[in-house]
Each structure stands twice: as structure tokens, then as C-alpha cells.
């Protein structure tokens, strides 16, 4: 088992998927010869040819329209959107089309073969158009699944699951971790099931919940909290839709406290759904209000990124506030 970064893990999942089915296609802006601006599709055109791995013209709505059609034909369809910030021109094709394709036809047609990969999140001095975390926009859309991996091992297993899953899946890749996160990843195929959260660390005083790149932050905060004598249970949600209410509710029933953290603006972020649901599920077990440590309700900043982000210090402050409520 080799130690590789997240890009390599993703590349491996793509390669396996391409070999698995001769109809599988990978496409998007600059994914061809160049292998994508982050190089996640590096070497794949060489291996699988220009018909199956190719650049598209520069049109996200076209990429997703094309992808819906190709998936409806029955081909495993892996579309890349260069930055999650640029997924919005494709919003109609995703929200009105991909999500509703099977339902509206009574299962005569579906785009279950569709997987949309896109790098998301901040931490790269990208400002308001290279840092967004748009998962919550899609979480309000029945028919889609949404997955966010936190490290290379998870990325490969979850991406393989996303590609095999017979529903359209949005796969958000934490670009800050593309090269920064390195870990052991089996060369062979494996799958991590969608819809299951993972308790990354057990604890008793407070539950910390996040996904993707934000996991690192809450794990860090948890460590600092332990030093202050507070025991944190740390959970990676992994799938935003469907989400594992059971695992979270079980943890909060035990700890009595919950802090959710994401980079996206707090208002109507996915943290609000978690807080609303767990607030109802665990009403009698809550010992302090559910807290959200999130981005402010502003576009993602540039110069003041450090101030903006929900860093470990802010999570730690919330932990202390929560346990001393």
C-alpha cells in the first residue's frame, strides 16, 4: 500500500472506473491532454483515448446537459466542473434535470450513471470565486446525492461508490487538500458506502461534526479541547445527502452537545439542516444549544480569509462555550 496524495487517489478511482466499463467517459474543461488544472485526470486521455477522455468547450451548462444525455444513454459519465464556484451555470441542468430525470419519467429514464466531480473550498487565497462550498444549494434538491471526502483513502473509496451508485452524485473535492493530504491508499478497488457517517474519534462531552477539509480543523480543535480536559466525539458526515441522522443522533444523545462546522455561509448552510433535525431528534438530550461554527454571511473574502474561516480556535471557543452553558 502506497502513500499518495488525494489527487493520485482520485486518479486511481477514475482509472479503475474507466477499465470497468468501456462506455465510461470523463470530460470537462482542460481534462484532456493537460489532465485538468489540478491534474486529477492526468494520463487518462493517453490511456483511454480522445473519445473517452476529452476537453469540452467552455460551458458548464453544456457539460452538464451533455452529461445528462450521456448518462441517460447508459454510459458511466464522469463530468468535471473546474471549480465549484463555476457550477452555477449548470444549476438548471443539475437541479431541474439530473435530480428529476428518473422521477418525472416514472423510471422509464434515469441519469443514475452520472457523477459530477468538482474542487471546492477555501484556503488557497482564491477569493470569492475560487473558494466557495456550495453543497447546501444542492442539499435542498431531492434526487441528488452529495459526497465530500476528507483524505486520500476516503476520496478513492467514496468516489468509486459515487460512480457505481445508480443516482446522480455530486462529489466535492477539498482542493486545499489535493496535494497537502497524503495517506495510505490501496491500489486495488474498494468502496466506502454512501450515506454512512464515520465516528473518527470517540468522546463523551461534546459531538463535533464536519465533512471534507473542515475535518482537519475540528480534529485539531478536538485535540486542543482534550488538553483542556474536554472529551470530544468527532464525526465525519461524508455524505451530505443522504445523511446519517442515526449516527449523529446517537452521538448527541450520548454527549448532549453538538457543534457543526462548515466554511459556507452560516445562513441556510447544511449546518442549519443538521441543527434543525438533531434539535428535534435529540430534544430531551440536549444540554446546550446546538452551535454552528461557519463562514460569515458574506462572499468568501481574500485579504481577510484568516479572519473569515471557521478555524480551530473558533471551534475551540464554541466547544468551551457549549460545555460551560
Amino acid at each position: 500500500m502506497a502513500k499518495v496524495n488525494m489527487l493520485k487517489a482520485i486518479n486511481s478511482a477514475l482509472e479503475i472506473s474507466m477499465n470497468e466499463n468501456p462506455m465510461a467517459c470523463i470530460f470537462g474543461e482542460d481534462v484532456g491532454v493537460f489532465g485538468g488544472v489540478f491534474r486529477a485526470t492526468s494520463g487518462l486521455q493517453e490511456q483511454f483515448g480522445k473519445h473517452r477522455v476529452f476537453n469540452t468547450p467552455l460551458t458548464e451548462q453544456g457539460i452538464l446537459g451533455f452529461a445528462n444525455g450521456l448518462a441517460a444513454f447508459g454510459a458511466p459519465t464522469i463530468a468535471e466542473i473546474q471549480f465549484a464556484d463555476y457550477i452555477f451555470p449548470a444549476f438548471d441542468q443539475i437541479v431541474n434535470e439530473s435530480a428529476k430525470f428518473r422521477y418525472r419519467s416514472g423510471n422509464e429514464f434515469d441519469v443514475g450513471n452520472l457523477t459530477i466531480r468538482t474542487p471546492y473550498g477555501g484556503g488557497i487565497a482564491g477569493g470569492l470565486y475560487h473558494s466557495q462550498s456550495p453543497e447546501a444549494y444542492f442539499a435542498h434538491t431531492p434526487g441528488l446525492k452529495i459526497v465530500v471526502p476528507r483524505n486520500p483513502y476516503e476520496a478513492k473509496g467514496l468516489l468509486r461508490a459515487a460512480i457505481k451508485d445508480q443516482n446522480p452524485v455530486l462529489f466535492f473535492e477539498p482542493k486545499r487538500l489535493y496535494r497537502a493530504s497524503i495517506g495510505e491508499v490501496p491500489e486495488d478497488d474498494y468502496i466506502i458506502p454512501l450515506g454512512k457517517a464515520q465516528v473518527v474519534k470517540e468522546g463523551s462531552d461534546v459531538t463535533l461534526l464536519a465533512w471534507g477539509a473542515q475535518m482537519e480543523i475540528i480534529e485539531n480543535a478536538a485535540k486542543q479541547a482534550e488538553e483542556a480536559g474536554i472529551s470530544c466525539e468527532v464525526i465525519d458526515l461524508r455524505s451530505i445527502i443522504p445523511w446519517d441522522v442515526e449516527t449523529i443522533a446517537k452521538s448527541v444523545t450520548k454527549t448532549g452537545r453538538l457543534i457543526v462546522s462548515h466554511e459556507a455561509p452560516i445562513t441556510n448552510g447544511f449546518g442549519s439542516e443538521v441543527a434543525a433535525t438533531i434539535g428535534e431528534e435529540c430534544f430531551l438530550h440536549l444540554e446546550s444549544p446546538i452551535m454552528r461554527v461557519c463562514g460569515l454571511d458574506t462572499p468568501y473574502p481574500l485579504a481577510l480569509e484568516k479572519e473569515y474561516v471557521p478555524d480551530a480556535l473558533k471551534v475551540l471557543a464554541a466547544i468551551k462555550q457549549s460545555v460551560s452553558f
Partner: protein, 405 residues
Amino acid sequence: MSNPNNVSQNIRHDLEFIDGHALNIPTLKVLHADGEIYPGAAEPDMDQDTALHLYRTMRFIRALDERMQAAQRQGRVSFYMQCLGEEASITASAAALDKNDMIMAQYREQAALRYRGFTLEQFMNQMFSNELDPAKGRQMPIHYGSKELNYMTISSPLATQIPQATGYAYGQKVKHVDKDTNTLSSQIDNITMCYFGEGAASEGDFHAGLNMAAVLKAPVIFFARNNGYAISTPADEQFAGDGIASRGVGYGIKTIRVDGTDALAVYAATKKAREVCTMTGEPILIESIAYRVGAHSTSDDPSGYRSKQEEADNSETCPVKRFEAWLIKKQWLDLDAENKLNEQVREEILDALKVAEKVAKPELIDLITDVYDTPIPSLIKQFEQLETHIKKHPQAYPTTSGRLK
């Protein structure tokens, strides 16, 4: 054009603009209103069976449209859309396809679906969104679809099917790519037919779909139905170029404009287009010109935006009558017998309507099926809560409560 900017290489030194109407695109007409072939036109190779099937499909659709329009007025169905004036455009283009070609339509193309054998009962079940509708009563009337007949289920958001058609057609091509050599291993057998209105052609998805098809070489026929209106918006408030056809050259797509009231012109052009698609793997753009003789839909009243005079002027040539005249000239048609047949069809329609409107609505469970391949846990929970609620108040939900176990 082997330069990196991918442009033609001729040079000029005097400053002159290319006129916005530099291309003057002609319209292909084959069949004269009196049933004769125009001098200089070639009669397409169409056998009698095909011709009669085409003819009967047009007459069936006309009868259906008339009946359903009336049914809507009577409050029996909530909504309807006729294709009055466009019957030849739609039916003849569908007739030129292989039945395994995929059709991705906008909504006014019921004639294409009928041509492929969609039954009267299937039309009715969809329109009454009853439990026999394979789409489980989830869409408004006229949003048909059939996997068996390779007719993609209609989606209301306009133009979304255009880039989808490109993707679907690309799949029809990739199917022929050899997985070891990564090259096309055989000729493309099936293509995608994509219908849309001249209004929908203003959407960004049109641009994306055509450009991608041209660049990626997807075997798709883009069939623009220019019927002069998008609801109330006339074509001259929709675009300022020479129709939709003038855009073909902007994408490097072979293009033709046809008289959409001329079944033979439409048939010949589509047949030829399909040939090019399968042989080159490239897309074709067809613009079909036919006036929308009826209202946009039963929710619309054209008197608010166009004159009776204009309507009269532009519905002179009936596409069905014109084709009929040809059939008669060819002695392929016994008009009296056909008229009797049509009377029978009209009665069958009424009977089928009466049956379909009494069929039960789908069961409660179909509220949550097909959102995902299998319902996700939260949805199952929501369903159970709803079921419990309905069982407590059965009288408030009569459509479904009776059938709950």
C-alpha cells in the same frame, strides 16, 4: 484552418463589415399545394406503407388535438397543447428516422410519438395522470415518454434537451469505440433527433448543445420548429438573424431550411441529414418553417397579441391536405374510406377519454418512488409519517386513503 486560432486565412485590407444578413438562406419546397412535385425537385423515395402511415398519423393527431382541446374546455383535462399547422413537420421528420433512433422533443411533437406506435390509451393515461401512466401521474398533460419507443420523456424547462441530445448521441457514437484501440470500430447505427422551438433556441443550452455537437462530433439532428411564436412573443422579438438556420455556420454545422408544411421536403431533408450523421458522426441543423396555427396551449388566447388576419393569411396551406393531394395523385389513397376510418378514430378517442378519466390515480407510495433508485431513509420516514396521518384522516385524502393497507 490549421492555424491555432482556428479561423480562415484570407486577408483583406479595406474595412468592411460582414452584413448581419450575409447569408440568405433558401427554403426547400418539394410538394406544391396542389399535390404536384415542383419542377426541379426530386420526389423522395417513400413507399406507400410509409406514406399512408404518415398520413394517418397526421389525421389521428389532428383528431386527438381537436378532441382534447374540447375536453379541456369542458374541464375534463387540465391542460393541452395542439400541433395544428405543424403536423407534417413533426410526422414526416419522425418518419425519416430509424425506430431505434432516440427522439428528444420539446412538447409539441405528439405526432412523432404516435408515428412510432404510442397507443391512444397511453396518450390518455398520461393526460389523466392516472395509475396506468408509466410516468405515474407526475407531470402535466402532454409530457409523454416511452423507453420502448425511444422517446425521451418530455421535460418542461425549455432547451434542456438540446445539450442532452448531444450527450445521448455521443453515447451512440462511443458505443462503436473499440476499447483496445480507442478508435471508432464500426459505422454509427443510431442517431438522436432533437426537436425544439425557435423560442427555446434563445436559451443558453441551445448554444452549448450545438457547439458541443459540432466540436465533439455527435450524430444528432437539431430540428428547429420555427412556428413564428413563443407564447405571445413573435419571432422578430426573439431573434434578428435569418431564422435559426443562419446560426449553423457559426457552429460549423451543415444546415438546411425546409417548408414545414411540406411533408415531402421535411422527409427528404431529414432522411439525408440522418445519412450524413451516421456516416460522418456529425450533427445537422434543420429549420422547419410552419406557422403555429392554434393557440400556444389551452392556457393561452392569441387574440391578445396577433390578428385574425395574420392567422388566416398563414394557415392557408394545410399540411395534411397537401400531402393528401399527393397521395390521391399517386392513387395510393381512397379518401372516402379514410374519412370513414377517421370518423371511427374520433369515436375511439372519445371512448378512450371516458375510460381514462375514471381510472384511479396512482397510489400513495408513488409519491416517493423514483426520486432515487431506492428511497433513502429520510424519505421512508417522511412517507411513514404521511401514511399515518392519512390513515387518521382518510376522508381528507380520498384519492389515496382507500387503498392504504
